[in-house]
């Protein structure tokens, strides 16, 4: 794959020399998220070509019949070079897919790149279908999906069913990302039950667990002074927690979180209510990456230590980052997913 070309295409989470500050570029011609956020489903499950960046981001915590924990990722990114749809090869819409499977001692990653406008990749809202090459996330509606992906050394085939409502982050889905007011539209479906088969070099493994799908789009979600983020999704006994910490060049942080009750009722927390601090770092291919964290949301009595199941879950893709399953211990127990960007 030609990573270099893609890097040049101003991909939002592209690590520039200054870390993940590359997002803070102009938004010429693109729309910006506005308050109050208004959604129209199923249309909003589909692409928003007038925004520069967008993703369909699914992570899952799985367990084999023998109790071995696994993590799974299926992501489709859209990046627009200019703010029009375009036709055929001249379409400015570009697509990037990332898929991964994490086991306690191995991490399988692969990446696909595609041009928009020719049918190689895309998303349609109703009936829902998101695809790039042979990978797909498809179903009659957003609650019932099948999902496939394949790489040189792994593949998976999964079925997902959700029994809970969509969850909106920030102010009803308008998620602020910096003190300067950068924002994105952001909602999730955190209530999927998932089962299926992982095909790994050591053989096929039947797995089941729960999955979390994030939908987010914007034109400039990061501020100039932000260098990366640490994002947590935790499934606990009495609810779910999404929290992120944006690291700023001056050493301070901008945080945001959403507490999700089992019935889907949400409570949003603005800057500083959610706290996350590295406890231990791992050497991941010569990089220092924090893989054990102390995560707190005092308002809910949450004070937990989260630990990576496999500290080496590095996504060695054209835009590299860390993404993998975690286990939660402390005031609450459970499992979840951690994404960290800007450590390369």
């Amino acid at each position: 794959m030609n990573a270099r070309v893609f890097l040049l295409l101003l991909w939002p989470i592209t690590a520039s020399a200054q870390g993940f500050a590359g997002l803070g570029t102009d938004v010429d011609g693109f729309s910006s998220p506005q308050r109050p956020a208004q959604f129209d489903f199923p249309i909003d499950h589909g692409p928003h070509y007038d925004y520069r960046i967008e993703w369909w981001y699914l992570t899952a915590n799985l367990e084999g019949l023998d109790g071995t924990p696994y993590g799974l990722q299926w992501t489709l990114f859209r990046s627009a070079l200019t703010s029009n749809v375009g036709k055929g090869w001249s379409s400015p819409q570009l697509w990037m897919g990332h898929a991964a499977v994490t086991t306690p001692d191995a991490h399988f990653v692969t990446e696909r790149l595609a041009r928009g406008g020719i049918g190689q990749a895309g998303v349609q809202a109703d009936p829902f279908e998101a695809w790039i090459d042979d990978w797909q996330l498809v179903g009659p509606d957003f609650a019932t999906l099948t999902m496939t992906a394949s790489g040189p050394d792994f593949a998976y085939d999964m079925v997902l069913n959700s029994d809970g409502p969509l969850v909106f982050h920030g102010d009803e889905g308008y998620s602020v990302k910096s003190a300067e007011g950068q924002a994105s539209y952001y909602y999730s479906q955190p209530f999927y039950a998932i089962e299926g088969t992982l095909i790994l070099p050591m053989g096929s493994i039947d797995v089941a667990g729960d999955a979390w799908l994030d939908r987010e789009w914007s034109s400039q979600p990061l501020s100039d002074n932000q260098t990366g983020w640490d994002w947590f999704s935790l499934s606990l006994e009495d609810g779910k927690l999404m929290g992120f910490r944006l690291r700023q060049t001056d050493g301070s942080y901008y945080t945001s979180a959403t507490w999700i009750d089992p019935n889907g009722t949400t409570t949003s927390y603005s800057n500083s209510a959610f706290e996350a601090d590295p406890v231990a770092v791992s050497d991941v291919g010569g990089r220092d990456v924090p893989t054990t964290w102390n995560v707190r949301l005092p308002d809910r009595g949450v004070d937990v230590e989260v630990t990576a199941i496999n500290p080496q879950a590095w996504m060695d893709t054209s835009v590299p980052y860390w993404e993998g399953p975690i286990i939660v211990q402390g005031s609450h127990t459970g499992r979840g997913y951690l994404e960290m960007t800007g450590y390369d």
Binding site: M1, N2, R4, V5, F6, L8, L9, L10, L81, T82, G86, G88, W89, S90, P92, L94, L113, A114, R115, I118, G119, Q120, W131, D133, D134, S150, G151, P152, D153, F154, A155, I199
Partner: protein, 794 residues
């Protein structure tokens, strides 16, 4: 202490600036020759790599459709089935090859275009940009797409986005071929399930272009390496002399308590400094040499193989690195023995310089044994060895063995001369020459290698020229060649030509595996053209008659060698047996080739109709015919080949090759001449005590000076005489061992006595010129200096 030690060591060079000069110049020249040749090679290779990456040819498996182009929907269907393939759309725009690729999926990426600008990428995708070299863009007419000059694109190729290529070539929704990424998903349906009429072509182990041009490059590399060996001999001499002369200084330093390890470290530091300096000068010189030669080399290769390389030189960092490494490494090699001797020297050993030259005599026996060993090894390698490495090892063993044997042989010859001397003066001359031999032997070895290299390379290049022009005569026997774009045009062309020319010879071929080797089967029309021009390396009598009878075939040398086929063997083509009755030379072709009669060809391959035609016609009518074809069929020069034009061009190209070879010849001989000059100058001072008694007995200084020149010329003549057989062995090794191992065909060897005589004259002239200054110096030695010899203690 370190400073004082270093100053003491460096003061040697201040007292002997000529020695430092010799060292730096020899090392610089050696590095220059090496890096210049490497630069030419690297530059040419970089051009091919750009071409190969642009075209994705050979490196990756490809998918093609038997129907011609691939519908774009099928490309998408393959991707969506898990086949990681990347589209290529190609065609000609104003006669220039235009290639459209998809940068996101292409396995090679957009490597040839140094895209460092995100805006350029956006524009390339959304509006389209044509990337090509400046020269190519200038040839291109008006187009409604931005042109962007890039020296990284292969010459005569335009690179653009697949969408832009579809529009410019009128291939909307069509893909020419698909490149298959080397890594595919773990699960994937078979190709025939998704696209039954597509064909998967496996990657080729080496690209066709590469193999052809590698022959030329390999020979150039050999030349560079040999030249470097010449230089290293000289460096070895200069360093050895400097070490010997510094023995008193070193002994004094050690006696003063300077630790040996410390001293060696200082000397190593000093040598590294000198070699880095000389290496940098050498790389710079090499760059200018390559820049001067490159237009010729570019034209040579383009003419020889129809492959264009850009005529400009880019300064690449790998030259610096390799040039400096070779300079430092060469110095280390040359200094190793001297350093070892220094390390072993007892603290209180005599500080008197052991006329370093004399010391060589002590190791004469070891040297002789070693030379014998190398020469035996070379013959064994030639006899039993196989593979390219063995070929090169044989070259090295032969050259170094011969060089080491040289002083022994020369000494024998001089001793014979001494025995036959008729006067005292003559006897003294022979004895004195023998006496000087050790001091001159390194320079003479350098001359031997330089001369042998030149003989070898000249023989090779000239043999190549003769063979190749003969081959062109054979292959381009018709006066004129025409290429049709499709079967329909071919049919009307043939009918048109039949009425206007002496004979139309259709050229048709089919791909078949012969004994598991990919080969082209040709079915030419029986005609005197072939009988007259096709020369066999080996054949039964009346081979053509047997082939025309339909039961026999002729094959090329490559196929014969690789499959081990000899005359009389049987091969199977499309299920039918044929007896091999002839083997012919087929230079530059990487794959096998078989010729059968036209009738048999038509019976075995009924679906193939010829698109190419050879035309026999009065040469004076060729221009008129090509103009007619242009007017009546719209054929461009791409579709027509004027045989006479090609031959003239090829010969012109060979003449340029000779310019390159000639320039290299003169350079290596100059290096050797320089070595002789430096050795004589060094010896001149040492020789005063030996010459003083002769002068005292009445031989004038002028006569002594003349004898010096005679001696240098005599030694050069003897060395040259010995270099000739060595050079011919070298040429034989290059043509019959290295070339066969590398490319599967043997170049016939021809001899060029006039060339050798000219080279010998150059070598002798170089020696005479080198001796001129020392001889003049000797003739002008003040009598008082000669008298001092008797007054002084020694």
């Amino acid at each position: 202490m370190t400073n004082a030690g270093l100053l003491a060591l460096l003061s040697h060079w201040r007292h002997n600036p000529m020695q430092l000069f010799t060292l730096v110049v020899a090392l610089s020249l050696a590095t220059a020759l090496w890096s210049g040749v490497q630069a030419v090679n690297t530059e040419a290779r970089a051009s091919y790599d750009a071409a190969a990456e642009t075209l994705g040819e050979g490196m990756f498996a490809q998918i093609i459709a038997s129907t011609g182009t691939i519908p774009q929907e099928d490309f998408i269907a393959l991707r969506r089935a898990g086949w990681l393939v990347s589209p290529v759309v190609e065609g000609r725009l104003d006669g220039i090859r235009l290639i459209g690729i998809d940068a996101l999926t292409s396995p090679g990426g957009l490597a040839p275009v140094g895209l460092s600008d995100g805006k350029l990428t956006i524009e390339m995708i959304t509006r389209g940009i044509l990337f090509a070299t400046q020269e190519t863009l200038e040839r291109l007419g008006e187009v409604d797409v931005r042109k962007f000059p890039s020296s990284d694109v292969a010459p005569a190729v335009i690179l653009t986005d697949v969408g832009t290529a579809q529009i410019l070539l009128g291939l909307d929704g069509q893909i020419s071929r698909l490149i298959v990424a080397p890594q595919q998903p773990i699960i994937q349906p078979p190709l025939e399930v998704i696209a039954p009429n597509f064909e998967l072509i496996p990657p080729q182990s080496g690209s066709d272009m590469g193999r052809l041009t590698d022959s030329f490059h390999l020979n150039l590399t050999a030349f560079g390496l040999l030249s470097f060996i010449v230089g290293i001999f000289i460096v070895h001499g200069a360093i050895g002399l400097a070490f010997e002369q510094r023995r008193p200084a070193i002994r004094t330093l050690r006696a003063l308590g300077f630790p040996l390890v410390h001293l060696i470290a200082l000397i190593v530091f000093e040598l590294v400094g000198i070699s880095v300096l000389a290496g940098m000068i050498g790389v710079g010189l090499g760059y200018f040499m390559a820049a001067a030669l490159l237009p010729d080399v570019a034209a040579t290769i383009s003419g020889l193989y129809g492959q264009s390389i850009s005529g400009t030189l880019h300064f690449r960092p790998e030259w610096w690195v390799s040039g400096l490494l070779i300079a430092v490494g060469g110095t280390a090699l040359a200094a190793a023995a001297s350093l070892w001797r220094l390390a072993c020297m007892p603290l209180l050993a005599s500080a008197r310089p052991h006329a370093w030259a004399m010391q060589a005599r002590r190791s004469r026996l070891i040297q002789t044994v070693f030379a014998m060993f190398l020469l035996v090894a070379a013959s064994l390698l030639g006899w039993l060895g196989s593979g390219l490495v063995a070929g090169f090892a044989m070259l090295a063993a032969l050259l170094i063995g011969a060089a080491l044997a040289l002083p022994v042989i020369l000494d024998g010859l001089l001793a014979a001369g001494e025995r036959h001397a008729k006067s005292i003066m003559e006897e003294w001359f022979w004895a004195d020459t023998r006496q000087q031999l050790p001091g001159l032997s390194l320079a003479l070895m350098a001359l031997l290698i330089a001369m042998a290299t030149n003989v070898g390379v000249s023989t090779m290049v000239s043999s190549f020229r003769l063979t190749f022009t003969g081959f062109l005569d054979q292959r381009l026997a018709s006066e004129f060649y025409v290429y049709a774009d499709d079967a329909q045009q071919a049919a009307s062309l043939r009918a048109y030509l039949e009425l206007r020319v002496d004979k139309v010879l259709p050229i048709q071929s089919a791909n078949q595996d012969i004994r598991g080797l990919p080969s082209d089967i040709y079915g030419p029309v029986a005609h005197a053209t072939y009988r007259d021009n096709w020369l066999f390396l080996d054949a039964v009598p009346d081979a053509w008659a047997l082939i025309e009878a339909g039961q026999a075939a002729a094959i090329n040398e490559q196929l014969a060698r690789r499959a081990g086929i000899v005359i009389g063997d049987e091969i199977t083509i499309a299920g039918q047996p044929f007896k091999v009755v002839g083997i012919y030379g087929d230079y530059g072709n990487p794959i096998g080739q078989v010729i059968i009669t036209e009738a048999k060809f038509a019976a075995l391959f009924p679906d193939i109709s010829p698109l190419r035609f050879g035309v026999r016609i009065d040469p004076s009518r060729v221009t008129a015919l090509s103009l007619d074809l242009g007017a009546d069929f719209g054929l461009t020069e791409v579709n027509m080949i004027n045989q006479a034009g090609i031959k003239a061009f090829s010969l012109a190209v060979f003449d340029r090759t000779f310019t390159v070879t000639g320039a290299l010849n003169i350079l290596t001989l100059a290096v050797a001449g320089f070595a002789i000059l430096m050795s004589l100058l060094t010896l001149a001072n040492m020789r005063i005590p030996q010459l003083a008694p002769v002068w005292a007995q009445g031989i004038t200084r002028a006569r002594l000076g003349r004898l010096e020149i005679v001696r240098a010329v005599l030694l050069a003549l003897l060395t040259t005489a010995l270099a000739l057989p060595l050079g011919l062995s070298l040429a034989w090794t290059l043509l019959a061992v290295v070339n066969v191992e590398a490319f599967g065909w043997r170049l016939p060897m021809f001899l060029f006595p006039l060339d050798y005589a000219r080279l010998a004259a150059f070598a002798v002239a170089a020696a005479a010129i080198a001796a001129l200054w020392p001889a003049t110096k000797l003739a002008r030695t003040r009598p008082v200096d000669l008298l001092k010899v008797f007054a002084n203690e020694r």
